[in-house]
Amino acid sequence: MEITCINCPVGCRLNVTLENGQVVSVTGNTCKRGEVYARQECVDPQRMVTAVIPVRGSAMPLSVKTRTPIPKKLIKDCMKALADVQLDAPVEAGRVVLANVCGTGVDVIATKSVP
């Protein structure tokens, strides 16, 4: 499996060999960070999800984020779950708008305040 390292602008092409879903070797990296990234990315890729959702009583939408990264394969489901969230203004930055999104154990929180 070939992936691009994202740690710095060099963008090393990493060749990753997997056996039974486990990384057995990483080549093409020029520093340690590349190997760490490849081991995470090939076995369990994770992403922060940010989005905007409407708030009743406000013309401005609310920006939100997952507090920590969630599995990449759950991004779509996370967006679907967020589409069903009903919120009323005011909302304070940092408030949990959706707890334990898609069973990840990760909360989605507001990243700004909407008066």
Binding site: I3, T4, C5, I6, C8, P9, V10, G11, T30, R47, M48, V49, T50, A51, V52, P54, A59, M60, P61, S63, K65, K72, I75, M79, A93, T111, K112
Partner: protein, 420 residues
């Protein structure tokens, strides 16, 4: 009619990350008669619409979204009692430090400031600057405008999208439009490489199977009232379209992410000399322009990649403006800083002679250099050296000169990149 002229010590134009940092620094240095003017209704600048994460790693050792990063500075400004007058557009700045502004609340006001910090940021290169043929239909937006619609106003600008240019804002918008329900058909880049971060190529395009067409451009725009499609073609090494390589895209929206230009109309009116390389002011090591008492920082000075760098640079400008007001800023002879091979648009363009403070030289590499070394010389003498696995135009390079080195400068300083 005699107009009452309001007097301030430090006037900051713009309450984005640069203006906020400059104001915080000046206030912390004891400048109480301080005013920040902001055109928008809220402070925070472009960060307000940058709802993605990745801001602040250098400054806070923590990753924030744009609104969260901005809020830190807004909170600090409030805590310090800094006055930010929003909904106020500055109309002109004169070389004698007279500033004319207008707002619905106060009408036209004329102010006089002992020191002025220019922190107006930059704007996006528009369609007109590209010379792309085709009709003048609706559905063509700069990526940042689309970002404002989606993230601040809750409107989706379209359903089927092509993005021209692979700068970071374009890449970020490819993901945002996809997540908010649109179909992004392609990201088209004229150059054989993307100027965006690898992280954004992977996480904004690859994650969503959005194809990146390198060495391609839009050669036709179709649609009467609303955009109905664009024609994309491959380009040769002279960036000329190759006949027969056309691809038709059926889309209702075209986003442009084709570069940023510092917004310097006010600076020019004040007699501030601009650099043709950065399109921003020429400044010394404390960000003072050729007009005494007028400083510039952030994206109005030169376009940055990281807000952390904007904040650090702007703290420096704020401290310098405060020193200028107190009469404590040493201004005398300066040493010129020049771009050597492989280097474009080094900031600052000059360094005050005999100053015992460290200076960060910032520049854009003129091409991609792998395993190269940045070398700084003063006359014939080498004064700094930095090796890096890569220098690329997409990432601003920084090389630090130590205080004792700065104090010893006696001849023109030249920054070069040497291939190994």
């Amino acid at each position: 009619m005699e107009r009452q002229m309001k007097q301030v010590d430090v006037l900051v134009i713009g309450a984005g990350p640069a203006g906020l940092a400059a104001a915080i620094a000046a206030k912390e240095d004891g400048i109480d008669n301080l005013l920040v003017l902001e055109r928008e209704h809220n402070p925070g600048g472009i960060l307000r619409q940058c709802i993605h994460n990745g801001f602040g790693l250098h400054r806070f050792k923590e990753e924030f979204t744009g609104p969260e990063y901005a809020q830190r500075d807004i909170d600090r400004a409030r805590e310090l009692g800094i006055e930010i007058q929003t909904d106020t557009t500055v109309l002109s700045v004169d070389g004698d430090h007279t500033v004319t502004c207008v707002s619905s609340a106060h009408g036209v006001e004329v102010l006089s400031a002992k020191a002025i910090v220019l922190a107006m940021g930059c704007r996006e290169r528009p369609r007109g600057a590209l010379g792309t043929p085709g009709t003048r239909c609706a559905g063509i937006y700069s990526a940042g405008t689309a970002q404002k619609f989606v993230n601040l106003e809750g409107y989706m600008p379209g359903k089927r999208v092509v993005i021209l240019g692979s700068g970071d804002i374009g890449l970020i918008m490819a993901r945002r439009m996809t997540l908010q329900g649109a179909k992004v058909l392609a990201c088209v880049e004229l150059m054989p490489f993307s100027s965006g971060l690898n992280r954004n190529i992977v996480q904004c395009l690859n994650d969503y199977d959005i194809p990146l067409y390198l060495s391609h451009t839009v050669i036709d725009i179709k649609g009467r009232e609303r955009l109905t499609g664009v024609t994309v073609a491959k380009v040769d090494e002279n960036r000329q379209p190759i006949p027969g390589s056309e691809i038709e895209f059926d889309c209702d929206t075209l986003l442009l992410s084709v570069g940023l230009i510092p917004e310097n109309e006010l600076s020019e009116g004040a007699g501030v000399k601009l650099s043709p390389l950065t399109s921003g002011a020429e400044v010394d090591d404390v960000l003072q322009t050729n007009v005494p008492g007028i400083f510039a920082c952030g994206n109005v000075l030169h376009v940055h990649d990281l807000v952390d760098h904007v904040s650090n640079e702007s703290f420096r400008a704020g401290h310098a403006a405060a020193a200028y007001v107190r009469g404590a800023l040493a201004c005398g002879e300066t040493i010129d800083v020049r771009d050597g091979a492989g280097v474009r648009g080094t900031v600052p363009q000059r360094i005050r002679k005999g100053v015992n403070e460290s200076v960060d030289l910032m520049f854009r590499p003129s091409g991609v250099f792998r395993n190269a070394t940045c070398v700084v010389t003063c006359g014939e003498r080498e004064i700094a050296r930095k090796k890096a696995p890569i220098f690329t135009p997409g990432e601003m390079a920084v090389i630090k000169l130590k205080p004792e080195i700065v104090a010893s400068l006696d001849e023109t300083v030249t920054v070069t990149i040497e291939r190994s």
